[in-house]
């Protein structure tokens, strides 16, 4: 599928990606945000230091994004919140792809389990993701781990469906039939023939999951069902900003802008990956 690497004179997959405008700009913004998230909190003010004398200050020289109702520096809190968002986005994308890949391979290859797995996935898909996540978090208590798990579970069915559809298509291919006919073991067929075909669509899917996970994490935080307020996250900063919204709208706008920009960058990269890695899907979207 991605056989361009070896051909001389033709740009490799990396070259194709960088020349894609969405990937280039999205990637650039994303790298900047990651650098800010990693190094920013080292030099800015303490994000949880309370300073009642300095509360609800508008953006200015002292605090780039102003201060919140407890006098905490919003700029520093937004930078720290970036760590939470990026961690949740990456963790959810990795875990849901790994779990979904395993279940999808089983469903696509083991006829007996196919119906069972797919009915469970159908059921899971009909429960609205936000409700499911809110319910799970309110039951298990809000920590970083429960938030990640609560976002992973509604994402799994989409990955399972994708992987299963790839498996079902590929297993009809002549080369797979030839492998079966020549007595290749099932495990080897999976690893050698089926798995490589799932990689490209899965990378694309993982990018989209990363974006939507960051959105869902922020929504949960905003609704008061996300990461506890001791750790600043974009969601809970905005949640706290609601009380004084009419007075100090920047407490919601800056984290909101950061979130929208990050998710937009991730989605641009996703679209670029889709166009480059998976031309079959790209044509229909």
């Amino acid at each position: 599928m991605t056989g361009a690497e070896g051909n001389q004179g033709q740009p490799g997959i990396a070259g194709l990606l960088i020349s894609h405008r969405g990937v280039f700009w999205g990637g650039l913004v994303l790298i900047a945000i990651i650098l800010l998230a990693v190094f920013g909190p080292l030099i800015t003010a303490d994000p949880v230091a309370i300073n009642p004398m300095n509360r609800l200050k508008p953006p200015g020289i002292e605090g780039l994004f102003g201060t919140d109702m407890l006098g905490r520096d919003v700029f520093s809190r937004v930078l720290n919140g970036a760590r939470v968002s990026l961690t949740v986005g990456t963790a959810v994308a990795l875990i849901s792809v790994l779990v979904g890949l395993t279940l999808g391979l089983i469903a696509g290859y083991v006829r007996a389990l196919d119906a069972v797995i797919m009915r469970v996935m159908d059921g899971l898909m009909s429960i609205p993701a936000i409700l499911l996540a809110i319910a799970m978090i309110s039951l298990a208590g809000a920590t970083l781990t429960t938030v990640v798990v609560a976002i992973v579970i509604p994402e799994i069915p989409r990955v399972v469906r994708l992987v299963r559809s790839v498996v079902l298509t590929v297993r009809e291919e002549p080369y797979v039939e030839a492998a079966i006919a020549s007595g290749t073991r099932t495990l080897q067929i999976m690893v050698r023939h089926i798995l490589p075909n799932t990689i490209a669509p899965l990378i694309v899917q993982a990018t989209y999951i990363c974006g939507s996970a960051m959105l869902l994490e922020a929504i949960l935080g905003f609704l008061g069902a996300g990461i506890p307020p001791e750790i600043p996250s974009w969601g809970n900063i905005m949640s706290e900003g609601r009380t004084f919204f009419q007075l100090t709208p920047w407490i919601i706008f800056f984290p909101g802008l950061a979130l929208a920009l990050t998710v937009l960058a991730v989605n641009f990269v996703g679209d670029g990956l889709r166009d480059t890695l998976d031309p079959r899907i790209a044509r229909t979207m």
Partner: protein
């Protein structure tokens, strides 16, 4: 045809069963003893045991599930722990704002997204097309509540055109106040839905426009408008309607957030209040309610395919 309808209706049963089982197990995993919660802080150990017996919580889990399922089939979603009212009653009291907000959003989104997607497909690669696609990516990237606050800031606070928050019932408080209050929530909730539908419309219309019968229609001199609406859009209807059905899940999630931003006393607020109060029967009931609505809508859409596209026969 009838056999297919019967089959399709029956096939929702295992899915609903999975949802019910999942919701039941989730609730039983809750930390703490529901009997102790209901009994309150001043209850003696005997009180707690008595309530547990009354609720049947000491029976085996399987028996509890079957009994709960039996109640469910009779339309009983349980009783709220705190208000002691039936969950079905609480849902029916809060249904109106949510239902109307969802309806206005669907109408608004379809009215905007379908023409937008069609134009984008017709002028594929043009400036308008790229603008629509950019809007679509943006719609998927901006969180619902940030958009909501931006709209409130612009239209209610800066220009004082529309009310900031709240809900007015069109039945008891008049249609005009209702419309004034529902405009911003509809726009907020609609953006992601428009992004979804316009993207799908563009993709499917683009595909249809390459068909031979479009060329034939052009050759016999039909107007472009008729080609787009009568041929392209008609043949692209099935995937568009399908994505609207799938998007209902997105919409339900968005309703919870939008109602919270605009202070609308609907089902979304009921969920959040129940989460804060840890009123599990309400959370459980609403999860079931929303899931069944989603399954039902998609069932109806599935059954409509044959009317939308006579080529589909069962």
């Amino acid at each position: 045809m009838l056999r297919y309808v019967a089959f399709r209706i029956l096939s929702t049963i295992p899915v609903m069963g999975v949802v019910a089982l999942f919701v039941f197990v989730l609730l039983r995993l809750a930390p703490g003893d529901p009997a102790a919660v209901i009994a309150g802080d001043y209850a003696t150990a005997e009180d707690v045991i008595r309530i547990r017996e009354q609720l049947g919580l000491s029976d085996p889990l399987f028996i509890q599930f079957m009994r709960w399922l039996g109640d469910l089939l009779q339309g009983d979603l349980g009783t709220s722990i705190f208000s002691n009212k039936p969950v079905t009653l609480l849902i029916s009291q809060r249904l109106e704002p949510t239902l109307l907000l969802t309806l206005t959003t669907i109408i608004f989104s379809v009215a905007v997204a379908v023409p937008l997607g069609t134009i984008a497909a017709y002028r594929a690669g043009s400036f308008i097309d790229r603008l629509v696609m950019l809007f679509s990516v943006g719609g998927f990237s901006i969180p619902v509540f940030v958009l909501g606050y931006m709209l409130i800031f612009t239209f209610s606070m800066s220009f004082d055109l529309l009310p900031v928050q709240g809900y007015r019932s069109p039945f008891s408080e008049g249609v005009l106040p209702f419309l004034r209050h529902i405009i911003l929530p509809t726009a907020t909730l609609g953006v992601i839905f428009i992004a979804l539908i316009s993207r799908m419309t563009r993709a499917s219309v683009m595909e249809v426009l390459e068909e031979d019968y479009i060329r034939t229609a052009r050759a016999k001199g039909q107007s472009e408008m008729r080609i787009l609406v009568g041929h392209a859009l008609r043949n692209a209807a099935v995937p568009i309607v399908t994505v609207i059905g799938i998007g209902i899940a997105l919409l339900i999630g968005g309703v919870v957030v939008t109602e919270s931003v605009y202070n609308i006393p609907g089902l979304g607020r009921l969920v959040l209040d129940a989460v804060l109060a840890r009123d599990y029967p309400i959370i459980q009931g609403l999860m079931l309610f929303f899931s069944f609505v989603y399954i039902f809508i998609n069932l109806i859409i599935d059954l409509c395919y044959t009317f939308l596209d006579p080529r589909i026969r069962y």
